[in-house]
Amino acid sequence: MSITIQNVAADTAVVCIGKALDFRNAAEFKQACQSRIDGGTRSFVLDFSGTGILDSTGLGAVFSLYRQLTPLGGQVVFAAVSRPVQVVVQLTRTYKVFRQYPSVEAAQQQLLSRSTSNGSRAGAA
C-alpha cells in the first residue's frame, strides 16, 4: 500500500492515498508528508479516489498533519473522496474541517489561484 506524493507547486503537493490509509500505513503517510513540510510544502491535496478504507488511525494521521500545518498557515484538503471515505467524513463531521473538491484538478486550481492571489496582494502592498 504505497502512498505517492507529488509537488505540483513549490508549496503544494498532491498525496495519492491509494487503496487505504489505515493503521498499516499511517506512519508512512506521516513520514512522507513530513519530508515535504521540511522542504517548504504547506498545502496538501489528499487524493482519495479509489480509497477503500480510512480508519481511525488513518484519520488521526490526517489530523496530525492538519495540526502541524495550521500554525504555518498551511492547509489540508480532500479531493475525489470515495464512498467509504465519505462515510467516515460524515460520521466524524470532518467536512467541517477539511474542504472537499470533486477532483484533484479542482483542488489544485483553487489552491494555486489562492496562492497567486496572496502573492499579488503582497506585491501590491
Partner: protein, 157 residues
Amino acid sequence: MSQQIQFQDLGTVVEDLHGLFECWEDDEAFLPPLDTFTREVMKLAIHEWVANLVQHADFSDRTPLIQLVVQANGKSVRCKIEDNSRGFDFDLQLARQHDKVVETTVPPDRGRGLLMMIACTENLRYHQPSPLPSADGHHRLEFSISASKKPWIDIPF
C-alpha cells in the same frame, strides 16, 4: 442474508477482509435491505475490530483464528467476530482510550478504534470466558448496525 468466513493469517487478514467486502459489493450480497451508508459503517466497524486484533491481540503460540459472521435482518445487520486470542479487559481498554483521547488537550494520533466502534454501532458486547487470560477459550465481539439510525462520532481528533 448471512455470511460466515474464517481468517487465520494475521499478515493478510485485513487485505483478505477488504477483498471479501468487494466481493459482497459485486455480488450485492446485502442489497436489499441495507443501504450504502449502513454497509460502509458495517465495514468500518469490522475493520476497526480486526485491526485491533492484529495490532494488540495475544494469540501466544496458537494458530490465530478469526471468524466473522454477518447477518442482515430487515434493515439492520448483526456482526459477530470471534477469535481465539487470550482476550483482554475491554472495559479497561475503553476507559484508557477515553482518558487519552477525550480527557486531553492534545488528541493523540492513534487509539480511537474502540471509541469509534462504540459510537457507530448498537448493542456492542464483548464476550469473554473468565478468568483472563484465557488459555483455550474464544472471545466474541458482537454488535448491530441499524439503517434507521444515522450515527455520528463525537470524538476529538
